[in-house]
Point group: C2
Chain length 227, copies 2
Protein backbone atom coordinates (compact mmCIF):
# COMPACT_ATOMS: atom_id res chain seq x y z
CA UNK A 1 0.00 0.00 0.00
CA UNK A 2 1.09 3.54 -0.67
CA UNK A 3 1.69 5.81 2.28
CA UNK A 4 0.39 8.67 0.16
CA UNK A 5 -3.03 7.01 0.00
CA UNK A 6 -3.52 7.54 3.70
CA UNK A 7 -6.04 9.92 5.11
CA UNK A 8 -5.10 9.49 8.77
CA UNK A 9 -1.75 10.08 10.38
CA UNK A 10 -1.23 6.37 11.04
CA UNK A 11 0.75 4.05 8.82
CA UNK A 12 -1.43 1.59 6.91
CA UNK A 13 0.48 -1.33 8.38
CA UNK A 14 1.98 -2.44 11.68
CA UNK A 15 5.74 -2.91 11.67
CA UNK A 16 6.69 -6.60 11.74
CA UNK A 17 8.92 -7.74 14.59
CA UNK A 18 10.80 -10.95 15.29
CA UNK A 19 7.82 -12.42 17.09
CA UNK A 20 5.14 -11.33 14.63
CA UNK A 21 6.87 -12.91 11.61
CA UNK A 22 5.89 -16.59 11.48
CA UNK A 23 8.54 -19.23 10.86
CA UNK A 24 6.26 -20.87 8.29
CA UNK A 25 3.38 -19.94 5.96
CA UNK A 26 4.67 -16.37 5.95
CA UNK A 27 2.45 -15.76 2.91
CA UNK A 28 -0.56 -16.09 5.23
CA UNK A 29 0.63 -13.27 7.50
CA UNK A 30 -0.51 -9.67 7.19
CA UNK A 31 0.26 -6.46 9.04
CA UNK A 32 -2.44 -4.39 7.37
CA UNK A 33 -4.06 -2.14 9.94
CA UNK A 34 -7.54 -2.19 8.40
CA UNK A 35 -7.54 -5.96 8.13
CA UNK A 36 -6.38 -6.30 11.75
CA UNK A 37 -9.12 -3.93 12.92
CA UNK A 38 -11.76 -5.78 10.88
CA UNK A 39 -10.79 -9.16 12.35
CA UNK A 40 -10.75 -7.72 15.87
CA UNK A 41 -14.09 -5.96 15.41
CA UNK A 42 -15.83 -9.10 14.16
CA UNK A 43 -15.16 -10.85 17.47
CA UNK A 44 -15.65 -10.30 21.16
CA UNK A 45 -14.00 -13.32 22.77
CA UNK A 46 -10.21 -13.46 22.80
CA UNK A 47 -7.72 -15.83 24.37
CA UNK A 48 -5.44 -13.95 26.71
CA UNK A 49 -2.07 -15.46 27.55
CA UNK A 50 0.21 -14.52 30.39
CA UNK A 51 3.02 -16.15 32.36
CA UNK A 52 2.52 -17.24 35.94
CA UNK A 53 5.36 -18.90 37.87
CA UNK A 54 7.18 -19.44 34.59
CA UNK A 55 4.33 -21.33 32.94
CA UNK A 56 1.84 -20.11 30.33
CA UNK A 57 -1.82 -19.52 31.17
CA UNK A 58 -4.45 -19.01 28.44
CA UNK A 59 -7.92 -17.81 29.41
CA UNK A 60 -10.92 -16.90 27.26
CA UNK A 61 -12.26 -13.43 27.97
CA UNK A 62 -14.21 -10.60 26.37
CA UNK A 63 -12.44 -7.65 24.79
CA UNK A 64 -13.22 -4.32 23.21
CA UNK A 65 -11.30 -2.04 20.83
CA UNK A 66 -11.05 1.75 20.97
CA UNK A 67 -8.79 2.96 18.18
CA UNK A 68 -5.36 1.45 18.75
CA UNK A 69 -6.18 0.16 22.22
CA UNK A 70 -7.68 -3.14 23.29
CA UNK A 71 -9.40 -3.50 26.63
CA UNK A 72 -10.08 -6.56 28.76
CA UNK A 73 -12.04 -6.45 31.98
CA UNK A 74 -12.79 -8.70 34.89
CA UNK A 75 -13.21 -8.90 38.61
CA UNK A 76 -10.53 -7.10 40.56
CA UNK A 77 -9.93 -10.53 42.13
CA UNK A 78 -9.14 -12.37 38.91
CA UNK A 79 -5.56 -13.51 38.43
CA UNK A 80 -4.37 -11.74 35.26
CA UNK A 81 -6.01 -8.48 36.31
CA UNK A 82 -4.52 -8.62 39.78
CA UNK A 83 -1.13 -9.47 38.26
CA UNK A 84 -1.40 -6.52 35.85
CA UNK A 85 -2.17 -4.17 38.70
CA UNK A 86 1.05 -5.22 40.40
CA UNK A 87 3.23 -5.39 37.29
CA UNK A 88 5.52 -2.47 36.59
CA UNK A 89 5.75 -1.40 33.76
CA UNK A 90 2.95 -3.70 32.68
CA UNK A 91 2.32 -7.42 32.40
CA UNK A 92 3.59 -9.13 29.23
CA UNK A 93 0.56 -10.65 27.53
CA UNK A 94 -0.43 -12.17 24.22
CA UNK A 95 -4.00 -11.59 23.08
CA UNK A 96 -5.31 -13.75 20.24
CA UNK A 97 -8.59 -13.55 18.33
CA UNK A 98 -9.56 -16.30 15.89
CA UNK A 99 -12.46 -16.73 13.48
CA UNK A 100 -12.99 -20.13 11.86
CA UNK A 101 -14.64 -19.72 8.45
CA UNK A 102 -14.63 -23.13 6.79
CA UNK A 103 -13.35 -26.69 6.89
CA UNK A 104 -11.08 -27.73 4.03
CA UNK A 105 -11.45 -31.42 3.17
CA UNK A 106 -8.67 -32.52 0.88
CA UNK A 107 -8.25 -35.93 -0.74
CA UNK A 108 -5.09 -36.42 1.34
CA UNK A 109 -5.18 -36.31 5.15
CA UNK A 110 -2.07 -34.10 5.00
CA UNK A 111 -3.81 -31.27 3.15
CA UNK A 112 -6.83 -31.07 5.42
CA UNK A 113 -7.05 -27.59 6.85
CA UNK A 114 -9.39 -24.84 7.94
CA UNK A 115 -10.00 -21.39 6.61
CA UNK A 116 -9.48 -18.93 9.44
CA UNK A 117 -8.58 -15.36 10.23
CA UNK A 118 -6.65 -14.59 13.40
CA UNK A 119 -4.95 -11.66 15.04
CA UNK A 120 -2.15 -11.98 17.58
CA UNK A 121 -1.19 -8.99 19.73
CA UNK A 122 1.92 -8.94 21.92
CA UNK A 123 2.76 -6.36 24.50
CA UNK A 124 2.53 -5.13 28.04
CA UNK A 125 -0.94 -4.83 29.59
CA UNK A 126 -1.56 -1.84 31.84
CA UNK A 127 -4.07 -1.35 34.59
CA UNK A 128 -6.57 1.37 33.61
CA UNK A 129 -7.03 3.73 36.52
CA UNK A 130 -8.44 6.84 34.84
CA UNK A 131 -12.22 6.79 35.49
CA UNK A 132 -13.11 8.24 32.07
CA UNK A 133 -10.93 5.75 30.20
CA UNK A 134 -12.42 2.97 32.32
CA UNK A 135 -15.98 3.97 31.40
CA UNK A 136 -15.06 4.27 27.72
CA UNK A 137 -13.47 0.82 27.86
CA UNK A 138 -16.50 -0.76 29.53
CA UNK A 139 -18.83 0.76 26.92
CA UNK A 140 -16.53 -0.61 24.20
CA UNK A 141 -16.64 -4.06 25.78
CA UNK A 142 -20.45 -4.12 25.76
CA UNK A 143 -20.66 -2.62 22.26
CA UNK A 144 -18.19 -5.19 20.94
CA UNK A 145 -20.65 -7.95 21.81
CA UNK A 146 -23.74 -6.10 20.56
CA UNK A 147 -23.08 -2.80 18.75
CA UNK A 148 -25.36 -0.13 20.18
CA UNK A 149 -26.10 -1.95 23.40
CA UNK A 150 -24.00 0.13 25.81
CA UNK A 151 -26.28 3.16 25.38
CA UNK A 152 -29.33 0.97 26.04
CA UNK A 153 -28.35 -0.39 29.45
CA UNK A 154 -27.92 0.95 32.94
CA UNK A 155 -24.28 2.16 33.21
CA UNK A 156 -22.03 0.81 35.95
CA UNK A 157 -22.44 2.50 39.30
CA UNK A 158 -19.60 3.37 41.68
CA UNK A 159 -19.68 0.02 43.46
CA UNK A 160 -19.64 -1.91 40.18
CA UNK A 161 -16.82 0.25 38.79
CA UNK A 162 -14.79 -0.38 41.92
CA UNK A 163 -15.30 -4.14 41.58
CA UNK A 164 -14.22 -4.14 37.93
CA UNK A 165 -10.63 -4.06 36.79
CA UNK A 166 -9.83 -2.99 33.23
CA UNK A 167 -6.51 -3.56 31.49
CA UNK A 168 -5.25 -1.99 28.28
CA UNK A 169 -3.08 -3.44 25.54
CA UNK A 170 -1.87 -1.12 22.78
CA UNK A 171 -1.87 -2.28 19.16
CA UNK A 172 1.82 -2.00 18.36
CA UNK A 173 3.21 -5.48 17.91
CA UNK A 174 0.42 -7.04 15.88
CA UNK A 175 -0.06 -9.50 13.07
CA UNK A 176 -2.94 -11.15 11.29
CA UNK A 177 -2.80 -14.59 9.78
CA UNK A 178 -5.37 -16.08 7.46
CA UNK A 179 -6.13 -18.94 5.16
CA UNK A 180 -8.71 -18.48 2.45
CA UNK A 181 -9.64 -20.37 -0.69
CA UNK A 182 -10.24 -23.99 -1.47
CA UNK A 183 -8.55 -27.38 -1.47
CA UNK A 184 -4.82 -27.65 -2.28
CA UNK A 185 -4.27 -31.30 -3.14
CA UNK A 186 -1.20 -32.82 -4.75
CA UNK A 187 -1.66 -33.29 -8.53
CA UNK A 188 -1.25 -37.06 -8.20
CA UNK A 189 -4.13 -37.19 -5.69
CA UNK A 190 -6.74 -35.43 -7.84
CA UNK A 191 -8.06 -38.66 -9.35
CA UNK A 192 -8.69 -40.28 -5.95
CA UNK A 193 -12.34 -41.09 -5.24
CA UNK A 194 -12.53 -39.22 -1.90
CA UNK A 195 -14.97 -36.32 -1.81
CA UNK A 196 -13.08 -33.02 -1.47
CA UNK A 197 -14.26 -29.50 -0.96
CA UNK A 198 -15.06 -26.68 1.42
CA UNK A 199 -17.57 -26.80 4.26
CA UNK A 200 -18.43 -23.22 5.29
CA UNK A 201 -19.33 -22.57 8.92
CA UNK A 202 -22.75 -21.16 9.60
CA UNK A 203 -22.54 -17.94 11.61
CA UNK A 204 -24.99 -15.71 13.36
CA UNK A 205 -27.59 -15.82 16.08
CA UNK A 206 -30.88 -17.53 16.78
CA UNK A 207 -34.03 -15.71 17.83
CA UNK A 208 -33.48 -13.76 21.10
CA UNK A 209 -35.25 -15.20 24.15
CA UNK A 210 -36.65 -12.43 26.39
CA UNK A 211 -36.02 -12.60 30.13
CA UNK A 212 -39.06 -13.98 31.97
CA UNK A 213 -39.25 -10.82 34.07
CA UNK A 214 -39.43 -8.49 31.06
CA UNK A 215 -42.52 -6.26 30.91
CA UNK A 216 -44.90 -7.65 28.27
CA UNK A 217 -44.70 -5.73 25.02
CA UNK A 218 -41.06 -4.66 25.45
CA UNK A 219 -39.88 -4.62 21.84
CA UNK A 220 -36.75 -6.42 20.65
CA UNK A 221 -34.36 -3.52 19.95
CA UNK A 222 -33.28 -2.75 16.39
CA UNK A 223 -29.62 -3.41 17.18
CA UNK A 224 -30.57 -6.99 18.04
CA UNK A 225 -32.61 -7.67 14.93
CA UNK A 226 -29.66 -6.19 13.00
CA UNK A 227 -27.45 -9.00 14.33
CA UNK B 1 -20.37 -38.56 41.81
CA UNK B 2 -19.88 -41.98 43.29
CA UNK B 3 -16.67 -43.77 42.58
CA UNK B 4 -18.62 -47.02 42.69
CA UNK B 5 -20.65 -45.92 39.68
CA UNK B 6 -17.57 -46.10 37.50
CA UNK B 7 -17.07 -48.72 34.90
CA UNK B 8 -13.52 -47.73 33.96
CA UNK B 9 -10.47 -47.61 36.17
CA UNK B 10 -10.27 -43.83 35.98
CA UNK B 11 -11.61 -41.46 38.60
CA UNK B 12 -14.71 -39.55 37.48
CA UNK B 13 -12.98 -36.23 38.10
CA UNK B 14 -9.59 -34.61 37.62
CA UNK B 15 -7.83 -33.56 40.81
CA UNK B 16 -7.89 -29.76 41.26
CA UNK B 17 -4.54 -28.04 41.63
CA UNK B 18 -3.53 -24.53 42.60
CA UNK B 19 -3.67 -23.36 39.02
CA UNK B 20 -6.91 -25.11 38.05
CA UNK B 21 -8.90 -23.55 40.90
CA UNK B 22 -10.09 -20.10 39.79
CA UNK B 23 -9.74 -17.16 42.13
CA UNK B 24 -13.32 -16.13 41.31
CA UNK B 25 -16.58 -17.71 40.10
CA UNK B 26 -15.39 -21.02 41.54
CA UNK B 27 -18.98 -22.25 41.22
CA UNK B 28 -18.51 -22.19 37.44
CA UNK B 29 -15.54 -24.56 37.58
CA UNK B 30 -15.79 -28.30 37.08
CA UNK B 31 -13.32 -31.16 37.11
CA UNK B 32 -15.74 -33.77 35.83
CA UNK B 33 -13.98 -36.02 33.34
CA UNK B 34 -17.00 -36.67 31.12
CA UNK B 35 -17.82 -32.98 30.92
CA UNK B 36 -14.21 -32.13 30.05
CA UNK B 37 -14.15 -34.80 27.33
CA UNK B 38 -17.48 -33.58 25.92
CA UNK B 39 -16.28 -29.96 25.70
CA UNK B 40 -13.02 -31.06 24.09
CA UNK B 41 -14.76 -33.36 21.62
CA UNK B 42 -17.17 -30.66 20.47
CA UNK B 43 -14.29 -28.53 19.23
CA UNK B 44 -11.28 -28.83 16.98
CA UNK B 45 -9.56 -25.43 17.32
CA UNK B 46 -7.70 -24.70 20.54
CA UNK B 47 -5.53 -21.82 21.67
CA UNK B 48 -2.09 -23.09 22.62
CA UNK B 49 0.02 -20.99 24.95
CA UNK B 50 3.73 -21.30 25.57
CA UNK B 51 6.52 -19.07 26.82
CA UNK B 52 9.18 -17.73 24.48
CA UNK B 53 11.95 -15.49 25.79
CA UNK B 54 9.95 -14.97 28.97
CA UNK B 55 6.83 -13.71 27.18
CA UNK B 56 3.59 -15.55 26.48
CA UNK B 57 2.60 -16.64 22.97
CA UNK B 58 -0.93 -17.81 22.15
CA UNK B 59 -1.60 -19.43 18.78
CA UNK B 60 -4.76 -21.01 17.37
CA UNK B 61 -4.25 -24.57 16.18
CA UNK B 62 -6.15 -27.81 15.56
CA UNK B 63 -6.15 -30.57 18.16
CA UNK B 64 -7.38 -34.11 18.60
CA UNK B 65 -8.12 -36.28 21.65
CA UNK B 66 -7.29 -39.94 22.14
CA UNK B 67 -8.38 -41.03 25.61
CA UNK B 68 -6.45 -38.95 28.12
CA UNK B 69 -4.08 -37.50 25.55
CA UNK B 70 -4.41 -34.40 23.41
CA UNK B 71 -2.43 -34.01 20.21
CA UNK B 72 -1.43 -30.92 18.29
CA UNK B 73 0.40 -31.04 14.98
CA UNK B 74 2.17 -28.69 12.66
CA UNK B 75 5.12 -28.21 10.41
CA UNK B 76 8.40 -29.38 11.89
CA UNK B 77 9.49 -25.77 11.30
CA UNK B 78 6.81 -24.13 13.44
CA UNK B 79 7.97 -22.47 16.65
CA UNK B 80 6.10 -24.33 19.43
CA UNK B 81 6.73 -27.69 17.79
CA UNK B 82 10.40 -27.00 17.32
CA UNK B 83 10.63 -25.76 20.90
CA UNK B 84 8.89 -28.92 22.17
CA UNK B 85 11.35 -31.11 20.27
CA UNK B 86 14.22 -29.39 22.08
CA UNK B 87 12.57 -29.16 25.52
CA UNK B 88 13.53 -31.72 28.11
CA UNK B 89 11.42 -32.99 29.84
CA UNK B 90 8.74 -31.28 27.76
CA UNK B 91 7.59 -27.75 27.01
CA UNK B 92 5.22 -26.17 29.55
CA UNK B 93 2.04 -25.31 27.65
CA UNK B 94 -1.52 -24.28 28.35
CA UNK B 95 -4.15 -25.51 25.89
CA UNK B 96 -7.56 -23.86 26.02
CA UNK B 97 -10.77 -24.75 24.18
CA UNK B 98 -13.78 -22.42 24.32
CA UNK B 99 -17.33 -22.68 23.01
CA UNK B 100 -19.52 -19.58 23.07
CA UNK B 101 -23.19 -20.55 23.39
CA UNK B 102 -25.16 -17.34 23.93
CA UNK B 103 -25.00 -13.64 24.65
CA UNK B 104 -26.52 -12.52 27.94
CA UNK B 105 -28.02 -9.05 27.73
CA UNK B 106 -28.82 -7.73 31.18
CA UNK B 107 -30.52 -4.45 32.03
CA UNK B 108 -27.28 -3.28 33.66
CA UNK B 109 -24.04 -3.05 31.68
CA UNK B 110 -22.30 -4.75 34.60
CA UNK B 111 -24.29 -7.98 34.32
CA UNK B 112 -23.78 -8.44 30.60
CA UNK B 113 -22.11 -11.77 30.00
CA UNK B 114 -21.88 -14.72 27.70
CA UNK B 115 -22.77 -18.35 28.16
CA UNK B 116 -19.70 -20.42 27.39
CA UNK B 117 -18.00 -23.71 28.09
CA UNK B 118 -14.22 -23.87 28.23
CA UNK B 119 -11.52 -26.34 29.14
CA UNK B 120 -8.03 -25.34 30.23
CA UNK B 121 -5.24 -27.93 30.24
CA UNK B 122 -1.84 -27.27 31.82
CA UNK B 123 1.21 -29.44 31.48
CA UNK B 124 4.32 -30.37 29.59
CA UNK B 125 4.00 -31.09 25.86
CA UNK B 126 6.10 -33.90 24.48
CA UNK B 127 7.32 -34.53 20.97
CA UNK B 128 5.70 -37.71 19.57
CA UNK B 129 8.37 -39.83 17.92
CA UNK B 130 6.72 -43.26 17.84
CA UNK B 131 5.42 -43.75 14.26
CA UNK B 132 2.29 -45.63 15.38
CA UNK B 133 1.35 -43.00 17.95
CA UNK B 134 1.99 -40.31 15.36
CA UNK B 135 -0.37 -41.94 12.85
CA UNK B 136 -3.02 -42.44 15.52
CA UNK B 137 -2.68 -38.77 16.50
CA UNK B 138 -2.97 -37.55 12.91
CA UNK B 139 -6.11 -39.67 12.37
CA UNK B 140 -7.56 -38.20 15.58
CA UNK B 141 -6.79 -34.67 14.37
CA UNK B 142 -8.68 -35.23 11.12
CA UNK B 143 -11.55 -37.06 12.83
CA UNK B 144 -11.88 -34.26 15.40
CA UNK B 145 -12.78 -31.86 12.61
CA UNK B 146 -15.06 -34.28 10.74
CA UNK B 147 -15.76 -37.59 12.51
CA UNK B 148 -15.23 -40.44 10.08
CA UNK B 149 -13.11 -38.46 7.64
CA UNK B 150 -9.69 -39.97 8.44
CA UNK B 151 -10.69 -43.35 6.98
CA UNK B 152 -11.96 -41.62 3.83
CA UNK B 153 -8.77 -39.80 2.81
CA UNK B 154 -5.34 -40.74 1.56
CA UNK B 155 -3.14 -41.33 4.63
CA UNK B 156 0.08 -39.41 5.07
CA UNK B 157 3.04 -40.83 3.18
CA UNK B 158 6.60 -41.01 4.49
CA UNK B 159 7.56 -37.57 3.22
CA UNK B 160 4.46 -35.96 4.74
CA UNK B 161 4.98 -37.76 8.05
CA UNK B 162 8.57 -36.52 8.17
CA UNK B 163 7.42 -32.94 7.55
CA UNK B 164 4.82 -33.11 10.31
CA UNK B 165 5.59 -32.72 13.98
CA UNK B 166 3.09 -33.96 16.57
CA UNK B 167 3.12 -33.04 20.23
CA UNK B 168 1.24 -34.69 23.09
CA UNK B 169 -0.29 -33.15 26.20
CA UNK B 170 -1.70 -35.50 28.84
CA UNK B 171 -4.99 -34.70 30.56
CA UNK B 172 -3.84 -34.45 34.16
CA UNK B 173 -4.11 -30.85 35.26
CA UNK B 174 -7.46 -29.96 33.75
CA UNK B 175 -10.49 -27.86 34.53
CA UNK B 176 -13.68 -26.87 32.78
CA UNK B 177 -15.46 -23.58 33.35
CA UNK B 178 -18.94 -22.76 32.18
CA UNK B 179 -21.73 -20.27 32.42
CA UNK B 180 -25.25 -21.40 31.63
CA UNK B 181 -28.71 -19.98 32.24
CA UNK B 182 -30.24 -16.57 31.78
CA UNK B 183 -29.96 -12.98 32.93
CA UNK B 184 -28.87 -12.20 36.50
CA UNK B 185 -29.92 -8.60 37.08
CA UNK B 186 -30.05 -6.76 40.40
CA UNK B 187 -33.58 -6.73 41.86
CA UNK B 188 -33.70 -2.93 41.69
CA UNK B 189 -32.98 -3.02 37.94
CA UNK B 190 -35.82 -5.37 36.97
CA UNK B 191 -38.26 -2.53 36.29
CA UNK B 192 -35.90 -0.74 33.88
CA UNK B 193 -37.21 -0.45 30.34
CA UNK B 194 -34.13 -2.01 28.65
CA UNK B 195 -34.78 -5.24 26.78
CA UNK B 196 -33.07 -8.15 28.53
CA UNK B 197 -32.62 -11.75 27.57
CA UNK B 198 -30.54 -14.42 25.95
CA UNK B 199 -29.34 -14.44 22.33
CA UNK B 200 -28.31 -18.00 21.40
CA UNK B 201 -25.53 -18.45 18.87
CA UNK B 202 -26.36 -20.32 15.71
CA UNK B 203 -24.04 -23.26 15.18
CA UNK B 204 -23.37 -25.68 12.39
CA UNK B 205 -22.32 -25.74 8.79
CA UNK B 206 -23.59 -24.50 5.46
CA UNK B 207 -23.92 -26.72 2.39
CA UNK B 208 -20.55 -28.24 1.39
CA UNK B 209 -19.01 -26.84 -1.80
CA UNK B 210 -17.34 -29.56 -3.86
CA UNK B 211 -13.85 -28.97 -5.23
CA UNK B 212 -13.95 -27.94 -8.91
CA UNK B 213 -11.75 -30.89 -9.84
CA UNK B 214 -14.05 -33.48 -8.25
CA UNK B 215 -15.31 -36.19 -10.63
CA UNK B 216 -18.98 -35.46 -11.49
CA UNK B 217 -21.38 -37.59 -9.49
CA UNK B 218 -19.06 -38.02 -6.49
CA UNK B 219 -21.58 -38.22 -3.65
CA UNK B 220 -21.37 -36.05 -0.53
CA UNK B 221 -20.35 -38.57 2.15
CA UNK B 222 -22.77 -39.48 4.95
CA UNK B 223 -20.40 -38.18 7.64
CA UNK B 224 -20.70 -34.72 6.05
CA UNK B 225 -24.47 -34.68 5.80
CA UNK B 226 -24.46 -35.82 9.45
CA UNK B 227 -22.67 -32.59 10.44
Amino acid sequence: MQGTEQTSSQPTAYTPTDRTVPTRSADRASYDRELVHAILDEGYVCHLGFVRDGAPVVLPTLYGRVGERLYVHGSTGSRPLRMTGKADPGLPVCLTVTHVDALILARSAFHHSINYRSVVVHGPAYDVTDPDEKRTALDALVDHVVPGRAADSRPANKKELAATAVIRLDLNEVSAKLRTGGVNDEPEDLALAHWAGVVPLRKGYDVPVADAGLAPGTPVPDYLTAL
